[in-house]
């Protein structure tokens, strides 16, 4: 121990401050700083003004961060003492996350859809059904605390897609997840469901991060470093199989596959997606998926690319199971949010094909797919927030019967999102699936693509079923009504629709951008 300490102290005297390259880290600093300011707003700004102040702050910050990220485009470098990558995939995915976060923030900001107020409890700590709760609701209090949580979570996502060592990735993972656990539990309506979702999400999320960090410890034991490039070098130089390496890869993959909701680590997703407030579900289903796949791609491509032949067979099985379970169970769902949750599990399976491809084309395809899937997801959940009856959102599939006859525009918009999920041509989802399948085929995963195409066709059946229910059945007598939202939700849904169509009809600029951005720095 002593020699280690003296060695450490000896180094301190000669130790130079690493060049952090603040310019490259600026988007992260802006987000983190503004998240802290947002906490201060909660503490010092009078209750009546808080919502307005928070809205200006959050949208200003997200747009500023997007501009800063866009300004870095074309740069390939390491920043922050080598632990943050500023490269194509990081910047593309950060931009995607920020666009999706702006759309999700529009849904979160909505206050007119529900006559009682926004989607969040007046006070999260008041007991459901208690006198306190009614009093806080009567006073019209809002849980504006959701905004600082939201900003912290977005910051974590940006770190998670750009971290180049396992420690930074772990910190990013937690900064992303911890606020989400809380945001899942503060719904205004059906609060017991919401709290249950928060508990399940928290316990399983913490469980998976335990796997992640223990896997990181094993890889550190193997390589003597947590740097992804260093681990890759150690794998190249190793002689023969190594127990620590094997354990590390397995545990790390389990932790990441939990986050992307791949089978058999998917059980939390349907419950959490159903129980959380719908705007938060849209945020989780889109942004978390992008961030988790960003980190999974980086770790698998950069650190474990040399072990490709060892982990690819396991990922084949997981990809097939994920597509199969997601598709089959989505067929049997009667709740629209649950159905979208299983659909997002199936999409995780399709995306895993791009991970298996381990090629530049696979990376570009995955990034395009994530963008197309994300905008459609937020739009679809946005529509779910509008279909309401007296108890809140009417999420049972039967109550959506005949929606197309009463509100053709809303039902038509939802149908476009479903067609994009199904991968029908002229939508972003088709181009994304096509690109992923092409990259998978080029990498030699022919049979996997056959399975994926068959399951994709099966999936089209349950998306079609919802369209049939909406357009070709008669409305219920006491069915739900479609509320007229404020501009917030309207803009979110409209931009989701516009981007879904644009990505389907004019995909080339976006495909080119993804292709140019498809090399990891190390």
């Amino acid at each position: 121990m002593t020699e280690l300490l003296t060695q450490g102290l000896g180094e301190v005297t000669r130790w130079e401050l690493p060049d952090l390259q603040y310019r490259y880290l600026l988007p992260l600093f802006v987000l983190f700083g503004m998240a802290v300011v947002s906490v201060l707003v909660e503490a010092f700004v009078p209750r009546a003004a808080r919502r307005t102040v928070q809205l200006f702050l959050v949208f200003g910050t997200l747009i500023a961060a997007f501009i800063l990220v866009a300004g870095l485009s074309g740069i390939r470098s390491l920043a922050g003492g080598g632990s943050i990558a500023v490269d194509g995939p990081a910047l593309f995915l950060q931009g995607t996350i920020l666009v999706l976060a702006i759309m999700a923030a529009l849904l979160i900001a909505e206050r007119d859809a529900d006559p009682a107020g926004d989607a969040f409890a007046a006070r999260a700590n008041a007991l459901p059904g208690s006198e306190d709760e009614r009093e806080f609701t009567r006073r019209g209090w809002l849980t504006t605390e959701v905004w600082p949580l939201f900003l912290f979570s977005v910051t974590g996502m940006l770190i998670f897609v750009s971290g180049t060592d396992l420690l930074i990735l772990f910190v990013g993972l937690e900064v992303m997840s911890l606020p989400l656990y809380l945001m899942a539990g503060i719904a205004r309506r059906r609060r017991l469901l919401s709290q249950e979702a928060a508990m399940k999400y928290f316990l399983l999320g913490a469980f998976s991060s335990g796997f992640f960090i223990y896997g990181a410890a094993m890889l550190y034991g193997f390589a003597g470093t947590v740097d992804l490039g260093g681990i890759s070098d150690a794998i190249t130089n190793q002689a023969g199989p190594n127990g620590l390496l094997l354990a590390g890869v397995v545990l790390l993959s389990v932790g990441l596959l939990f986050k992307v909701a791949a089978v058999p680590f998917h059980q939390w997703a349907p419950d959490v997606y159903q129980g959380s407030p719908t705007p938060i579900t849209s945020f989780m289903a889109s942004c978390v998926k992008v961030a988790a796949f960003g980190a999974l791609l980086r770790i698998m491509y950069v650190a474990l690319g040399g072990l490709r032949w060892d982990w690819v067979p396991a990922f084949w099985i997981i990809a097939i199971l994920t597509m199969l379970v997601g598709t089959v169970l989505a067929l049997t769902q009667t709740d629209i949010k649950r159905m979208l949750a299983y659909s997002s599990i199936a999409h995780a399976g399709f995306l895993l094909i791009a991970v298996i491809a381990t090629s530049e084309a696979g990376l570009a395809a995955a990034m395009f797919y994530l963008l197309a899937y994300g905008v459609s997801t937020i739009g679809a959940f946005g529509v779910v927030t509008l279909v309401r009856d007296s108890t809140g959102e009417a999420t049972h599939l039967s109550s959506w019967a005949g929606l197309g006859k009463r509100s053709p525009w809303v039902a038509g918009t939802f149908a476009v999102f479903l067609l994009s999920f199904a991968g029908i041509p002229l939508t972003g989802g088709f181009i994304g699936k096509f690109a992923v399948f092409e990259a998978g085929y080029a990498s030699g995963a022919g049979w996997l693509i056959v399975v994926a195409v068959i399951l994709s066709a099966t999936a089209a059946f349950f998306y079609g079923r919802v369209i049939v229910i909406m357009f070709f059945t008669d409305p219920q007598e006491d069915g739900p009504t479609v509320v007229v939202p404020s501009a917030f939700t309207a803009i979110a849904i409209a931009s989701g629709l516009a981007m879904t169509v644009v990505l389907g009809v004019f995909p080339q600029p976006f495909l080119d951008l993804a292709e140019k951005a498809s090399i990891f720095v190390r």
Binding site: N125, L178, L192, G210
Partner: protein, 99 residues
């Protein structure tokens, strides 16, 4: 005592944590098991830092402790809310979300 002993101990602690999460029914105990998993990782990090002769592992242990503390804050907030609503901290009882 070589590093191997510490790593084996940390693997045992990690396994106890995993089994605790899988078989215990009280949310607080499940949560404590998760903390055990994180601390098992800490032990492994520190042991490997000694073996490799660099300080990375020791530094990471501090980060993991901070993250664990943050997790306690968030986790207990959620569990206390559930307990006040249901008067129980069982992970089986909240079962409204299914199928």
């Amino acid at each position: 005592m070589t590093t191997e002993h510490y790593v084996v101990l940390s693997a045992i602690l990690f396994s106890i944590g995993v089994f605790g999460v899988l078989i215990r029914r009280n949310a607080i105990v499940v949560f404590m098991s998760v903390e055990l998993m994180l601390n098992a990782a800490n032990l492994a990090f520190v042991a490997f830092a000694r073996q490799h002769g660099n300080l990375t592992g020791q530094t990471i242990a501090f980060f993991v402790m901070v993250v664990a503390a943050a997790e306690v804050v968030v986790g207990l907030a959620i569990l206390v809310t559930i307990y006040r609503t249901r008067r129980s901290a069982s992970v089986d009882e909240p079962n409204l979300l299914k199928y």
